[in-house]
């Protein structure tokens, strides 16, 4: 199956990390662990990854990073009091797509 997405790790430094002009061309999907999903085989997405000095990850590598973050968050949530749990939802597992 053709790859639809590509993944990288890049820290969002704030202003200028994603410009409006980039947002018009690229479908961004930020994930836990500073993992970013952008379209594969896309010149604009490739240029953005270069700009933010993103470290390319395979889907499986990205999934492992996300899983660590989500598991930690689930453990933290499980340790909350019932009153604290009432104000939030248990973090859900995230499954990345090829």
């Amino acid at each position: 199956m053709a790859k639809t997405h590509q993944y990288c790790v890049a820290e969002n430094w704030g202003k200028g990390f994603i410009e409006h002009s980039e947002s018009r061309k690229i479908a961004f999907f930020g994930l836990p662990g500073n993992v970013w999903q952008v379209p594969a085989h896309n010149k604009d997405a490739n240029l953005w990854i270069n700009k933010v000095l993103g470290t390319a990850k395979t889907k499986d590598e990205a999934q492992a990073i996300v899983d660590v973050e989500v598991t930690a968050a689930q453990n933290s949530w499980d340790a909350l009091s019932d009153e604290q749990k009432a104000n939030s939802t248990r973090p859900a597992d995230i499954t990345l797509e090829e």
């Binding site: 430094w13 704030g14 202003k15 410009e19 999907f29 994930l31």
Partner: protein, 321 residues
Amino acid sequence: MSTYKEINGTKVESLGSDPPAPFAGQIWYNTSSNTLKYFANVAGVWATGGNMGTAVGFIGSAGTQTAALSFGGSVPPTTAGTEEYNGSSWTNGGNLTTARIYLGGAGTQTAGLAFGGSAPPFTVATEEYNGSSWTNGGNLATARSGLGGAGTQTAALAFSGSNLPPSSASEEYDGSSWTNGGTMTSNRNAISGAGTQTAALGMGGEFSGNPLTNITEEYNGSSWTNGGNMNNPKKVATGFGLQTAAVSAGGEAPGTSALTEQYDGTSWTNTGSMSVAKATLGGAGTTTAGLAFGGIDSSSTLAATEEFTGGGPATLTVGTD
């Protein structure tokens, strides 16, 4: 393959400058810039703004895209912290007197209002911000959290929220005390709000038992009526803008969401999504220049800020836009 002329009955115009009043779908060649251009409706888009000093969710918020205010929330733990945004970076402001989460907000960066929330327990506390410090205002009649807010520091509206069970009550603030306003058509918690005291908008939330809703209600200063339903039921989103030009962004739908919708006073339209799905975030500004900040994603509280530029008719360049 059909040509442009065969489809449209005319050739593409060559113009020395862009037409002053293009129509939707018009295409022309700009001989000055040597670019092929067209006029079309574009979706609103988000870009990253400066990161907050502290990652925080369940916050109160007020202000504009270039002068926003974030107050309270949970880091965790529950915080009294305030941060001010200037369009590029956040700086610390004065702390709330009462640290709390899930609170309502209204007003501006230099005349803000914080009300309700959960310290815990649910609180009636109202505080007024002058650009540097918070002082106590008049208490809400009903303690509640997850409530909606609209208006200014001297003419604010608090509505819905939960004091177990969810509420349909609204209250109006005149700068010193709260009085009862009109009752909403449905009891909801985790609602978001926009607009003014006399032209407010309540968006989404959850009913008792936790089912999400996409219901929108409009307030005219005395009573609530139903507006157009959002495309996506969600709670703990952020809302900003006016009753006739509002934005709803993020929330739980269920699971954290990046979805963004724009309201025109009658119906909601999906527009560009945020780059990160998040809930319990803050919001400020308008449909043309909005702001979303803080909140929680799938795993933790966020310091990220996103700046919204509204959609609409625009001149675009083929191969560039």
